[in-house]
């Protein structure tokens, strides 16, 4: 929908393995996976910048752990 720009992304072998594994699991191309990762990172980063906390919850025990973003 928007104009696209191209960049070269240098990844280590293990990082590329993870990109390929996740892309395969999610049914996405590597480009779409990176775009999705950027959306999620921006979403979490914005919330933390506003002073909000982001938690993950164990569905069985309901235990919550705060998501720490070290940036």
């Amino acid at each position: 929908m928007n104009d696209k720009r191209t960049m070269t992304l240098n990844l280590s072998a293990i990082e590329m393995d993870i990109v390929e594994k996740l892309a395969d699991e999610k049914g996405l191309s590597k480009t779409a996976l990176v775009r999705q990762a950027l959306r999620l990172y921006q979403s979490i980063s914005d919330r933390i910048s506003r002073g909000e906390k982001v938690f993950v919850e164990d569905p069985a025990t309901k235990d919550k752990a705060e998501l720490m973003v070290l940036s």
Binding site: G27, R39, L40
Partner: protein, 210 residues
């Protein structure tokens, strides 16, 4: 802001019985927010005033008239998501007025067992203008606004390589429409207290083919 619509749909204006073009815009522009405040809101407020004046169960009448969305803050929500990569907004415009609005998130994950954990588009807000609703207008002006907007969400899902997967929580009066007309999978009432629906790739393809 794009200077041309994403798509144009020909829909019959049921007041004049003439075909009319409805343009799909994304993202929502200032004029669409203004239309909500100046054209939609006064109608909602008039109904809410009338309901309160008549007494009785306000929530029940609000549900019967399908105006649970009367309090939605479209304008401030549109401002809040500006520049956010995980949100998309759409407006359907015809005859110089906003006929429908939709906000969707593009960072959700599917819950339906066959596609659990895969990315999907989550429709967060979807509404047609009050004069298009059978509960508010004797002759709803444009039929199919909701269908066009849901189709836009499915198209966005395909565009983002999400295979047409779309999820949403339905207001009670819209549950049958999503399940029986749109063919979405009903995953039951969840922690939100609302019924959650999702499309699979097959359902999304079938929806767009109609």
């Amino acid at each position: 802001m794009s200077d041309k619509p994403l798509a144009t749909f020909s829909v019959v204006d049921r007041e004049t019985n003439q075909p009319t073009d409805l343009d799909l815009w994304s993202p929502v522009a200032e004029r669409h927010k203004d239309h909500f405040l100046t054209r939609w809101r006064p109608i909602f407020d008039r109904h809410l005033d009338e309901i309160r004046a008549n007494g009785g169960n306000v929530d029940e009448v609000v549900q019967l008239r399908m105006i649970q969305d009367a309090h939605w803050q479209w304008a401030s929500k549109a401002d809040a998501i500006e520049g956010r990569l995980d949100w998309a907004s759409f407006a359907l415009e015809g005859q110089g007025v906003t006929q429908g609005l939709m906000f969707a998130q593009t960072a959700g994950f599917a819950k339906e067992p066959s596609q659990k954990g895969k990315p999907l588009v989550k429709v967060v807000l979807l509404a047609s203008a009050p004069w298009n609703r059978p509960t508010l207008a004797a002759v709803p002006r444009f039929k199919g606004v909701g269908r066009i907007l849901l189709g836009a969400a499915i198209s966005l899902s395909f565009h983002e390589e999400f295979a047409g997967r779309v999820g949403l929580h339905a207001l009670p009066q819209a549950e049958a429409w999503y399940r029986d007309v749109c063919g979405m999978t009903d995953l039951g009432v969840d922690g939100t207290g609302m019924r959650y629906f999702e499309t699979t790739e097959e359902q999304a393809t079938a929806f767009l083919a109609i």
